[in-house]
């Protein structure tokens, strides 16, 4: 088992990465709780809910609440239902919420914990590769029909317990989705990490030691950044590399049509394209494109009105004063935050989307 500590303004929490951890969560909690509510989704429930519940001692009251699988559950309706469940299950300020699932569950259950009785403890138990990103850093949120994660807080967990056993049964699509964020962590931190990742074939069996190493490296990149800038005034924004277009695409196509990672993959290609133009440089667009293609990332899109997308990008939380801000790269490992003017953005996006439609 590997561990890593993340320091926040209000606490320090430990990230555990290892095998079989879900069956003994209490070993990784900083204290004991009398009343615990596990929040999970309809897919994860089938595989791991029982393991988690049975791991608590007999004198702990453990209840659970299951939401439908999929990004659509990060809604205000599910959020309020879960708060109602928490009340019905008798949770109080000393109780614990367990977020058992992928990024959707982490965000949703974390926001419930952040706002139930003004904030109670929770622990992230990620079950997807994608969640190596979202489970660390304390960002929790639900979606608004007008945009992803528009309603949320910064609220760090008490621990992140990453049981890698839950990752080997993931469908290919989920592995792809998660690896987009691993690639991102490579691109914004270190060329050798990027090269290592894009030398990995996801379509054949992914080796446990390779996956674990990539997750550890990815989490370390993320943890270092969020420690320096918890509330996202500066550096933390770099983690949104590829996300400005990704969020707009997800919202425009309807959440769930593309997985988050698939949208980020396309967003990163576009961000590289913009970076090449902005800095007159030659980032590895083709290297990334080919790896994405080899690993069956969807690289075609329906026709979308560019203006509609740009308007969505302006509604992104990172936008300021109605200008689109994007994370760009001067070179691999050297991210920057730039305002991109509407005209240039429209023109580059028009061309980029044209290529993906025609491809």
């Amino acid at each position: 088992m590997n561990t890593l500590d993340v320091q926040t303004s209000t606490n320090t929490y430990r990230v555990y990465i290892g095998s079989n951890l879900r069956k003994n969560l209490t070993n990784y909690l900083p204290k004991s709780y009398k009343n615990v509510m596990v929040i999970t989704d309809s897919e994860i429930e089938k595989h791991y809910l029982q393991d988690v519940i049975e791991g608590f001692p007999a004198d702990t009251k453990v209840s659970f609440s299951v939401v439908p699988n999929g990004e659509a559950s990060k809604s205000s309706e599910q959020y309020f239902n879960l708060l109602t469940n928490a009340i019905e299950n008798g949770l109080d300020r000393k109780s614990l919420i367990v977020a058992l699932g992928g990024g959707m569950i982490g965000d949703l259950a974390g926001f419930v914990a952040a706002t139930f009785m003004r904030g109670i403890d929770y622990v992230q138990v990620p079950t997807s590769i994608l969640a190596h990103d979202s489970s660390v850093g304390g960002k929790v949120a639900i979606n608004h029909p007008e945009g992803k994660n528009l309603i949320g807080s910064f609220f760090p967990p008490q621990a992140v317990v990453y049981d890698v056993d839950t990752l080997f049964t993931l469908p290919q699509r989920e592995i792809r989705s998660g690896y987009a964020e691993v690639v991102k962590h490579g691109l914004i931190s270190d060329n050798s990490f990027f090269e290592e990742v894009v030398a990995t074939d996801l379509t054949t069996d992914l080796k446990p030691e390779v996956l674990t190493r990539h997750l550890q490296k990815g989490i370390a990149v993320k943890a270092k950044i969020v420690e320096n800038d918890e509330k996202e005034s500066n550096e933390r924004k770099f983690l949104n590399f590829g996300h400005t277009l990704a969020h707009a695409l997800e919202a425009e196509l309807g959440y769930g049509k593309l997985t988050h990672g698939e949208a980020v993959a396309i967003g990163m290609l576009f961000a590289i394209r913009v970076s090449n133009k902005f800095y007159q440089t030659q980032l590895p667009y083709q290297r990334l494109y080919q790896w994405l293609e080899t690993n069956n990332y969807p690289l075609t899109l329906p026709r979308i009105d560019v203006n509609v997308l740009v308007n969505r990008m302006k509604k992104d939380k990172k936008s300021e004063n109605a200008k689109v801000q994007m994370v760009l790269l001067r070179e691999v490992g050297n991210p920057t935050l730039e305002q991109v003017n509407d005209e240039e953005l429209n023109s580059l996006l028009e061309q980029f989307l044209g290529e993906l439609v025609n491809h």
Copy 2:
């Protein structure tokens, strides 16, 4: 004008108390904002909204959103509407929300600010006496059908701008409601402050200098406590003196039947009754009862099932492990937090309610 600084774990904000402040809010803000949304209610809108809007410079975009007057607006529906308005009005992470109104508006608009894009700046502009309590301390929340303030955060404002001019036109009922919290600040801090307050006749014209002095003293009591215990692990709970029964009464009778302060007044009488029994002491029950009666506080209640009330008290955020916790007084100025067992609580409440029903 008087000022007072409140230090939190994340910022220090200033409380301004004075005349005519609403017309020049920008003078009291720590920085300038390009996009401002004022949130107010249908009553306050008529009197003060225009003053606030006109006080911003011409190059600031100022929008507003009005919710119906009354506690019922602290609902999930209004909360989501306001978030939607914030998006429609183009607010971003550098924008400002102005909470113009009483405690309901402060709590609601504050929770919108706390969770819009994971938290944006807001300023409290209280227009009620009651809000001298709620506007300081960073507690923001909305109600759940099962209980008051069950959904919320700790999220300090950038400033509190208290324009006392807005207080002299308040109806008697609002003055009564607000003064209950002033009395509370006296009871938990200092007997001479308590005596000073209960020597004041609220039914004749309240003098500006008296009101201002009481507000300053009340805010100072509150500020000192929240600085020591922002997240309510200990001392801050003392501010809930009278509130355990008050919240249960408000929920049981329907929010708005009793004003919050009227419910707190009854709750304080009960807390004194319990304290007298618990500590075998003689707190000024009659002194408070007579002052409340003289000043026309409602001191009769419909018949309510004691068990139903006790169950509501157990759902209070302060309850732990399904026991009722109450703030009691060893003596005036010396509050304590005690678990009261069900049997004793039932018996004392039965007797207390019997007196109020028969009165």
